[in-house]
Structure formats: C-alpha cells, structure tokens
C-alpha cells in the first residue's frame, strides 16, 4: 500500500506541509517495501486548480491513501472518485516520519 504525505522538503525528517495542492514536495511511502520516494510537486506554483492537479499526480502514482492536514473540496472530490482514502493528520509542526508512524498505528480519522 502506498501512502502520500505533502511535505516541506524531500526527506522524511522534513516537516509535513499544512497544504495539499501547494505543498512543495510529496513523499510517497510504500508500506510493503518500506521505501520512501520524494517527488517535487511541479504544479505547486500554478495559478489555480492545484488541488485537482495534485490529485491527478497521486492517481498516476498509484497512491492508496493521502495523509494531510487540509484538503480542498475539488481535490477531495477527485481523490475520492479515484479511490484514494484521505486521512486527516492535524499534528502541527510534525515530521513526515511522525505522520507515517501515526498512519501505521491506524488511528487517523478519514475525511
């Protein structure tokens, strides 16, 4: 299973970004291989529609769950239509590594 965390940097010790569509990086963690990949969010600086664009990127990457602090209405609709589960992680100023741990514990609430 692949999970995605919007991040301020490319490393799992970097902080979780509080935004989804405008986060500079997406970190994708594979729960089976325990590998992480960092992807630059190439549409973070676009004028509009960044939520749907980010959702499309996650769909193309085969992500199963998004762990995020916040997600907009259009992005949420696109993620749900694509079968991606959206889990809210509201711990402020936390690292990506902590977000992954919280996900693995299984106590995140679905949006």
């Amino acid at each position: 299973m692949k999970i995605c965390i919007p991040s301020k940097g490319p490393d799992i010790q970097d902080l979780v970004d509080e935004r989804f569509g405008r986060a500079p990086y997406f970190i994708i963690y594979d729960t089976e291989s325990k590998m992480t990949e960092a992807h630059v969010n190439s549409t973070a600086g676009a004028m509009g529609g960044v939520g749907p664009k980010a959702a499309q990127f996650l769909l193309n990457q085969g992500v199963d769950s998004l762990v995020t602090e916040r997600v907009g209405g259009n992005a949420l609709e696109a993620l749900k239509a694509g079968g991606i589960m959206v889990l809210l992680y509201e711990e402020k100023g936390s690292t990506v590594a902590n977000a992954i741990t919280a996900f693995l514990k299984g106590n995140l609430k679905e949006q």
Binding site: G48, N60, N74, A81
Partner: protein, 287 residues
C-alpha cells in the same frame, strides 16, 4: 458629426463615486448626443438603479466547456495533462470536470486522441440592454453567482455597446483583470478619488494601471472637504489634470441616496457634467 469617444471611469478604491460620476456624465451628455453607458462592475452592477424601470432585453453570456462521450473515452489522461487550470482529473473509471476552473480554451478537445470531447455552451452571466431615452442606452453586464470569468461578461457588454456616440464604461473597484478589461480600448480614463489617505493610496494604484496601458487620464475629486492638497500634489507631480471637484455636501448625498442624479435635478450640475465630458474630449485632442 457624431462624437466617438470611449471614456472609462475607474478609481482603485471602492465607494469613491465612480457610478455617480458615470451616471451623471452619461445623463448630461445624452441631452444632446448619443450615449451608451456600460456597467462593467459585473459582480455588483447597480447603474440601472439611477434610471426609472423599463422593459430590458437580456441575453446570456456563454462559455464553451467540454462534454465527454464515455463510450469513446479511453481514460488516457491526455486532456487532464494538457489542462493548465486543473479543470480535469482522469480517475480510474471516469473523467472529472470542474467547470469553475475551465478557461474555455478548447485544448482538451483538440488533444483527445479518441474524439471523445465536444464543446457545449454554459451560461455564466447576462448582458441587459435598456433604452432609457432617444439618446441614452444602458448596457449592464451581470456575472452569475459563483462564477469567475467576469472578464468575459465585460467583453460581451462592451461588444453590445459598440455604437457611434459616447461610450461611458463604469469599472469595478480594484486594479485586477476586470478593471483592465474595462479600460482596454478606452480613449480616456476618469479616475475618481476622494480627499482621504485611502483615496490617494488607491488613486496611485489605479494610475499605475492606466499608465501601463498608455491611457490618458484626468482626475475627479469627489466628496471634497476642501483639503485636497495631497491629491493635488500627486496630480501636479505627474502632470495629471484635476478636471472636476465635487464637494462633500448634504444635498448631493440626499439626491444620490434617493436614487436620483444631481445632473437631472439641477441644471447647473448638468452643465458641469457636460463640461466634464468636453474636457475629457479636449484632453485627447478631440473636437
């Protein structure tokens, strides 16, 4: 010979009296000339409130949006990949369309390799035409609630108004795309300000836009309390002429508040607004 003169009324700051000047100017000039007044404040048009009710004609303003033939769509994702505005998302089993992000470029239909996309029309607003007198028409652009493409409605309203005579276009406040669209193609712009630090601040912003567009301007100081030194200094430094000053006056406020026009009620104000129109025309070398 009929005058052909396009005047835009702008301000930067809201509430300075753009609509008041636009309506009075149009009314006064229409006593002897053909005038079309265009309400380009499409998110909250209100110029029609100055004129008695009549029987307006309305036309929809439409934009093209994609329609999908699911039997042809292969979910290849080319359309979403092309869309610069995030209006399309291709999921595992369907295409999602977010119409409010669509800029109607038609690119998705062009790139679709399966021929699954056609374009259909979607209304986003209206243009309403009122024939107020033999000489005066009012064209009102109205953007539907929740829509974002105000520029398209302004463009259509101005297109309906393209006639001989005076064209007076009342802009929305601010300095963004709708204002630029209103100013586009104008011969002259009247910048309305007031003698407050806020009026001056936003006058400077509005002037930076008209300068960038290369449109000559004149200033009207509205609700003047007589302490207009800062505005006049700004205008002097840039060689901008102050074409009119309207005092902060209880009678004017009362006429305005009742939905009437000072140029309609008082012949002296009618003459002043006719002179203001003449001054605009002279400023650009017209006769």
């Amino acid at each position: 010979m009929t005058t052909r003169m396009k005047i835009a009324i702008a301000s930067g700051k809201g509430g300075t009296g753009k609509s008041m000047v636009a309506a009075n100017l149009a009314w006064a000039l229409a006593q002897s000339d053909r005038v079309t007044l265009v309400d380009c404040d499409v998110e909250e048009p209100n110029l029609h409130l100055f004129f008695p009710p009549d029987d307006p004609e309305s036309t929809d303003v439409q934009v093209s949006i994609p329609a999908f033939d699911n039997s042809r769509c292969t979910l290849c994702g080319d359309c979403a990949g092309f869309c610069a505005f995030g209006a399309l998302v291709v999921a595992k089993d369907r295409v999602l369309f977010f119409p409010e992000h669509c800029h109607s470029c038609g690119g998705c239909a062009l790139v679709c390799p399966a021929g699954a996309i056609t374009e259909i029309q979607r209304p986003i607003g209206t243009v309403t035409i009122r024939h107020l007198s033999a000489h005066l028409s009012l064209v009102t652009g109205t953007l539907n609630e929740g829509e974002v493409l105000g520029v398209k409605v302004i463009r259509e309203a101005k297109r309906y108004a393209a006639k001989p005579g005076w064209l007076v276009c009342d802009a929305s406040p601010g300095t963004s795309c709708p204002v630029v669209e209103t100013l586009h193609g104008s011969d002259f712009c009247l910048l309305i300000t007031e003698s407050t630090p806020f009026g001056l601040h936003d006058l400077e912003l509005a002037y930076s836009v008209t300068s960038h567009l290369g449109i000559p301007v004149g200033v009207v100081i509205n609700r003047s309390d007589g302490k207009d030194e800062e505005v006049r200094r700004f205008c002097n430094e840039r060689g901008i002429i102050v074409l009119a000053t309207i005092p902060f006056d209880r009678w004017i406020a009362a006429v305005q508040g009742s939905g009437d026009l000072i140029s309609r009620v008082d012949p002296a104000w009618k003459e002043r607004f006719i002179a203001l129109g003449g001054a605009c025309r002279s400023s650009v070398g017209g006769t």
